[in-house]
Symmetry: C2
């Protein structure tokens, strides 16, 4: 086991450098003044390049071959070795110079996006975005050549190990088979009912934050190992022992930040629950983005938009903002939190129309990467896509193709994992409810401990010991499908059919 032991030491160092990079990334989004951006881009690029150099050192290839021949490894060690090989394969497929250029270009483009979005200035962002796309395409082609797969699959594999566009096409096709009709039925049903009462703002940002902290605590977030801060684009960053989530507060609508906080808390609980014995080893990391997103959506969509959660949350919200009256009763809050309405902004979308946002982005990024769509045509293609999929068109790019940080920051191939995650969440939650009778009633008492325990055992503590599909089969008895997601939407959003 000598080769494995040396690899384990080397990957521990890589893991710690990755942690340092994660802290820099959090700081960039949540703390850094704008003027620090160029230097920060160079700092992050330097650490990225070092990681790349250490990972692609010839000795690592030799050690991997030697360790793969070692017999005494147990299952976790063998899974760890397989994840090491996976990282190594990704790293060796791309030259170090390209890694550095992409890191710098993405940092600069992300900073430019911060001002381009509010200024509705897609044209201003275009040169930097072109550079990110060109370098991403180079990266995709290099990896595709090395792995013997399609360039898009090579990018997807970075976020969703083993993911393939063909499988996504099938699942998204099934969604498109029932979602438009379901959405229309839900909207018609909503029109027949009186509208929920609005919650009148403004809502003090300090009180919003305090409410968020209270809900995070109830869900099991440990503030000795994490923080809540503010950033342009909410995210979960940091490291398993110091998980940093962010939100953005809207003084006119507290539910937006609140649901965002609940969502990121789901991500945070996953990171925090990763197997402590395997910290800073590849097998100790999160499995991939569909599982990661399933954890945030399970908390936000499955648990915290339930009727039971509204009963728990209503008195806390009334106390937080000093309000009362019928709008603040659980039933009305629940109706607000399950309101369906086609909208322009993905992160504000309800769970019924969300997949359409993802399908749009998935198709556009595939077309952009394939060269079938020029970036200059993106705003028009975006508007056409929104019209076709959701029947609405953004008045400008701010709420159109500039709304997401993903493409400017270099995260191409990431978007489909959101909807894979939504489906995974529905399937996992259905299994949890089957296995834990009365689970949803716990939420009305603000008790999420049985849910967290189940997730710890069935998802979090497995790290990357198994594939996403294996995790799902072990926890739910079947691979990923659309059935549980469809049943969930129908049960929550459609009136009971008369027997």
């Amino acid at each position: 086991m000598k080769a494995y032991q040396e690899l384990s030491q080397r990957f521990r160092r890589l893991g710690l450098l990755g942690d340092a990079l994660a802290v820099l990334g959090w700081d960039t989004a949540a703390m850094m003044p704008d003027g620090g951006a160029p230097a920060r881009a160079e700092q992050s690029a330097t650490v990225s390049v070092l990681i790349h150099e250490l990972l692609t050192a010839p000795r690592v290839g030799e050690l991997l071959a030697a360790a793969e021949a070692e017999r005494a490894l147990d299952d976790w060690q063998r899974a760890n070795l397989a994840e090491m090989r996976r990282s190594h394969r990704h790293a060796t497929a791309v030259p170090a110079a390209l890694v550095e250029r992409l890191s710098v270009a993405a940092s600069e483009c992300e900073m430019a996006w911060r001002s381009a979005r509010p200024a509705n200035d897609f044209t201003g962002l275009l040169p930097k975005l072109r550079q990110v796309l060109a370098l991403t395409r180079e990266q995709a082609e290099a990896k595709a050549a090395a792995f013997g797969c399609a360039p898009y699959d090579a990018l997807l594999d970075q976020y969703e190990p083993g993911g393939r566009a063909a499988a996504i096409d099938t699942l998204f096709g099934e969604l498109e088979g029932f979602l438009p009709a379901l959405t229309q039925r839900v909207l018609e049903q909503q029109r027949r009912q009186p509208a929920p009462l609005p919650l009148e703002g403004p809502f003090d940002v300090g009180a919003q934050r305090a409410l968020g902290l209270k809900l995070m605590t109830a869900l099991g977030f440990d503030f000795a190992h994490g923080r809540l801060d503010v950033s342009h684009h909410p995210f979960c960053g940091g490291t398993p022992d110091d998980v940093r989530i962010t939100t953005r507060f809207d003084p006119e609508d507290f539910t937006s930040a609140m649901m965002g906080v609940l969502h990121e808390t789901g991500h945070a609980l996953y990171e925090r629950g990763l197997p402590a014995a395997w910290r800073n080893q590849p097998v100790g990391s999160a499995r991939g983005m569909s599982i990661h997103e399933s954890q945030s959506l399970l908390v936000e969509m499955q648990a915290c938009r339930s009727d039971a959660f509204a009963r728990f949350c209503a008195p806390l919200a009334r106390a937080a903002f000093g309000r009362a009256g019928p709008a603040w009763q659980p039933d009305n809050l629940h109706r607000l939190s399950t309101r369906v309405e086609p909208g322009l902004i993905r992160v504000d979308a309800d769970e019924v129309t969300y997949p359409a946002h993802v399908i749009l982005r998935y198709r556009l990024e595939r077309a952009l990467l394939a060269g079938d769509l020029d970036l200059a045509e993106l705003p028009g293609a975006w508007r056409d896509g929104m019209q076709a999929l959701l029947g609405i068109v953004p008045p400008g790019d701010t709420d159109g193709c500039l709304q997401d940080i993903h493409w400017p920051s270099g995260a191409w191939g990431y978007f489909p994992t959101y909807t894979l995650g939504a489906m995974t969440a529905a399937q996992l939650f259905a299994a949890a409810c089957d296995q834990l009778p009365g689970l949803i009633d716990d939420f009305a008492r603000g008790d999420f401990s049985r849910l967290l325990g189940w997730l710890r055992t069935n998802v979090h503590e497995k790290g990357s010991r198994h594939s996403a599909e294996e995790i799902l089969v072990q926890a739910t008895g079947r691979p990923l499908g659309v059935a549980a997601f469809r049943r969930h939407l129908e049960a929550r959003y459609l009136e009971p059919v008369l027997a």
Copy 2:
């Protein structure tokens, strides 16, 4: 110049990694939850060890020798090369394993200090502090052997390049020759006068922060390139393009945080003013801690405790806290800001009694490092020293030997630079006043631009192109002495002698 060019590339990478480490350090002090400490210690240690490995690679030694033989280098490049050699000499003197152990031990001890100080628990801190001291001693001995100097001088050289204990002994001896008598005269004079009127609290922390931001802006702090945050121990961190200063707010005494902010702003202006053309090169770094401290003390003590500054600040303070009356008049504020009173806490000390705090720590750390004093005896030795030097004794270790972060965090040999800095500040400020007639009157209008311009030219933009002594001689015409500091104290604190 091929060797020099390659060195320059390598040191740029080292500089960027050092920046990343600085951001981690800032985060540790200002943001990180306690539970993140063990992982953070390992992250920082990993980056430190990498820096050490890259700096001590055999190729660097070869390149240094080759570059030192190159003829075409200009003065800046030659100074840069000399600083590279200096770093290399420090790094190669100590084995990598010791660097890592010291980094981990210091991070852990610093975290333990955070809780030990409020708990008055020196005994609880002792094991971790012993480890830091033992490893520091090992480091000092290794460097002393390599440089052919005394172990204490080897530590001092890390903070004050070229500094020697013998020179400090002389200067500190001169201070001791006049300070005790001067202090007594000031105290007697104060007793003869009516006491300044107290400023009645409480002072809203948000208003304190807003006042701090206003003063920082007036002094020339650029918030596109920096931040103000809160930490246990105020400091200036971050990088020249993103300078992070911290303070701690006392709701009962706003002047404590305010003067702290002004002090750290002095450090920040220096960092921000370092030569941009030499970013991430050794010659582009701050010269050393006596110059660094001179910049904070010049702003805090020389400029911002002046009568003119009180005239500028008084209306701002009244507006910030909604107060009025005789206590809030410039004259009273000035008398409060120049009040002399022997106290327990170094960072709260006035400039007359401050050197006694430094002399105590300097003697104690020399004795601890030399093995003449055991750490277990530190609390007693501290009390004895305070009695002898300042005539007061702390009731516990919280306000005694636990008050400073330096020893727990591994910064041994640092303390004397505070008083060297005070003397340097007095000498620089006297020269600036000579060269810029009416300079102090600018401050009454909140105009610090002539002062900042002078400091940029005479100190900041020189980076490490010259030694501290050269900088002082160029700017003031003479090497460091006690004369200007003495004249400053007598002019400010003693009644005009009748002619």
